[in-house]
Amino acid sequence: MSGFGGFGGFVLRRGIGTILTLFAISVIVYVVFYVTPGDVAQITCGPRCSPAQVHQVAQQLRLDEPLYVRYWHFVEGLVAGQDYSTGTSVEHCPAPCLGLSYQSDQQVTRLILTKLPVSLSLVLGAMVVWLILGVGTGVLSAWRRGRLTERVLTAVTLAGTATPVFVIGLILMIVVCGELELLPFPQYVNLTDDPEQWAWNLLLPWLSLALIEAASFARLTRSSMLETLAEDHIRTFRAYGVGERSIIGRHALRGAFAPVIALNANNFGSAVGGAVLTETLFGLPGIGQELVHAVNVVDLPVVVGMVLVIGFFVVLANAVADVLYAVADRRVVLA
């Protein structure tokens, strides 16, 4: 394999690029959010604060120091942890420390960790659903190509791409929970507390998030399978009398495997955006809902911390997608 060195180099370059991207994002996010036109100290203190109190809050929040000093403190906290004096006592915030919430003085890292299981339950569960639904639909329409089934599936898939997450979610919630009363309105239950209740309560959020994503997988699966089906070796299999079911299920599906995995990593970013909507709609106490809350009360450390954490996952997923593309198709220019 002469190309392997090139491939290893590609992965290495991509890895370095990822780290640089993360660094750049952290600077951009930090600078953009802390050069806010709004008066953070005033907002944090509340509308009835006197100017002297506002000034005190500004000092507590280090808002009087130059921006690069604050960014440096921020990076220091991320790498080494930080001590915060909260008036009477000193609180240690271990690395990776993302600072303290302006609103509740809670450590942002800890806050994110408590919210993360909810968001991961939502996104990972939905991922399973959209992979099954999407690939299944794609296989079915490739198998039934040119027939009524394919036309119907194509129409449904198109409708799926055109419906915003929150519209599907709203309608599902009203029909399933409100009218038919098949399920109670979702209320998050910890997986460790009661796995069965956990799944039942997440069923609608999973579906809402997954239906839209499934549509793009259905399109991709169908088109890759049709491409494979048009290849010479498939014609040879057919000539040897291999059954259609085996050709579809074993050979054509194999061709769709790599692009589907790559798209899955690639779609992570949009799924995270969809998760914010789903969590808000269903009242799931995840990162998305917390972010919307933090945004509304201008709790900047929480906003910055969450944007960075989400950005970290998305950038990582994109890098994985790139590598998977390269693995799937070595003809992609390694640059």
Binding site: E150, T161, A230, G273
Partner: protein
């Protein structure tokens, strides 16, 4: 969210315009007629185009339509609200009647028809303006990266990568929160969407420009001493038209969805300015008393995004009929075989 679809489409565009593609399929001024003929040949795209045209008409004529009805989108009608029953509209079907064609909003009594058509204005206006910003930035940076020195290309490509990596929803959500309340929200939403998500189009334009740069007529122009600006304008822009138009057609529905989502979350377009997403925020509580309060904005969003998506697919097929069925990179070798596979419906992939 349709981000993923757009991403796949971007790849299709790159693949479609990859070296080896017949340069004749890139439409210049003379290709316009061929483009219309191919677009008209697709029934679904034609229907979608009519729907989109109607929507644009409604959006443009919104003040006229509401004047015709005798209402406006912001006036409260407390007399039409039954406060004893928690604020549901008075009368059957959520207050539908000659004065209020689609009924009134629960709790406030604002006219639903007026809010809906003015919402179309916001939705389409924000989406189109944001698309123009995205295209302007993407095309400029894409061409600059492709024509600039190695160093410029590296720098611009890295910046582009960062913007591709930023999760759009999350960043817009966060950015919209820190801007003071006085700033006009629709403009703000437009700017945030436009300035954040031009990364993919810049990539598409860069790749296409690199391809065009190698073509004979561009080399000839360079050899005859034309300046970079003149080459970009006269020789490159016509060749970029196809991928850019294709991409723009796919960006519009995506932008509509993002605006609706942001307004739904309460950080986008804020009351009293109506927006479809924002109307849905409060609607779920009222679905029994005034189902149209939920169904109208939801239906409007669905029809608009669907029509624009189908039209976008049609535009893509019309600009390069073979591109439509390719949704991934690196299938160039297999492409020849595709043409003769059992009459694939290109519009559907």
């Amino acid at each position: 969210m349709s981000e993923a679809v757009t991403k796949a489409a971007a790849e299709a565009v790159i693949a479609a315009q990859a070296p080896g593609t017949d340069p004749a399929s890139v439409p210049g001024a003379s290709g316009a007629r061929q483009f219309w003929r191919r677009l008209r040949a697709q029934r679904a795209a034609l229907v979608a185009a009519v729907v989109v045209a109607l929507l644009v008409l409604v959006a443009l004529a919104a003040p006229l339509l509401t004047a015709l009805e005798g209402q406006d989108p912001t006036t409260y009608h407390p007399s039409l609200i039954d406060s004893a029953r928690g604020g549901v509209p008075v009368g059957p079907l959520g207050g539908i009647g000659g004065d209020h064609w689609l009924g009134v909003e629960p709790q406030t009594g604002r006219d639903l028809f007026a809010r809906l058509v003015h919402g179309a204005r916001v939705s389409l206006g924000v989406a189109l303006a944001a698309t123009i910003i995205q295209i302007a930035i993407g095309v400029t940076l894409g061409i600059a990266a492709a024509l600039g020195s190695r160093w410029v290309d590296q720098l611009l490509s890295r910046i582009t990568d960062i913007f591709v990596a930023l999760p759009l929803m999350i960043m817009s959500l966060a950015l919209l929160a820190i801007v003071p309340a006085g700033f006009p929200r629709p403009v703000l939403v437009t700017l945030v969407i436009g300035l954040l998500s031009w990364g993919n189009i810049a990539k598409v334009v860069r790749a296409q420009t690199l391809t065009l740069k190698g073509l004979d007529h561009v080399s000839a122009a360079r050899l005859s001493g034309w300046g970079t600006w003149r080459i970009a304008r006269r020789e490159l822009l016509p060749g970029l038209a196809a991928p850019v138009i294709t991409y723009a057609a796919l960006l519009v529905p995506q932008n509509i969805t993002v605006e609706a989502a942001l307004s739904f979350l309460g950080v986008g377009v804020k009351p009293p300015t109506p927006s479809w997403g924002q109307m849905l925020t409060a609607a779920d509580v009222w679905y029994q008393a005034a189902p149209q309060y939920l169904l109208l904005p939801a239906g409007a969003l669905f029809v608009t995004v669907l029509a624009l998506t189908v039209l976008g697919d049609g535009v893509r097929t019309a600009l390069d009929p073979r591109a439509a069925s390719r949704l991934r990179v690196g299938t160039g070798r297999r492409r020849e075989h595709r043409a003769d596979t059992a009459g694939e419906k290109e519009t559907s992939s």
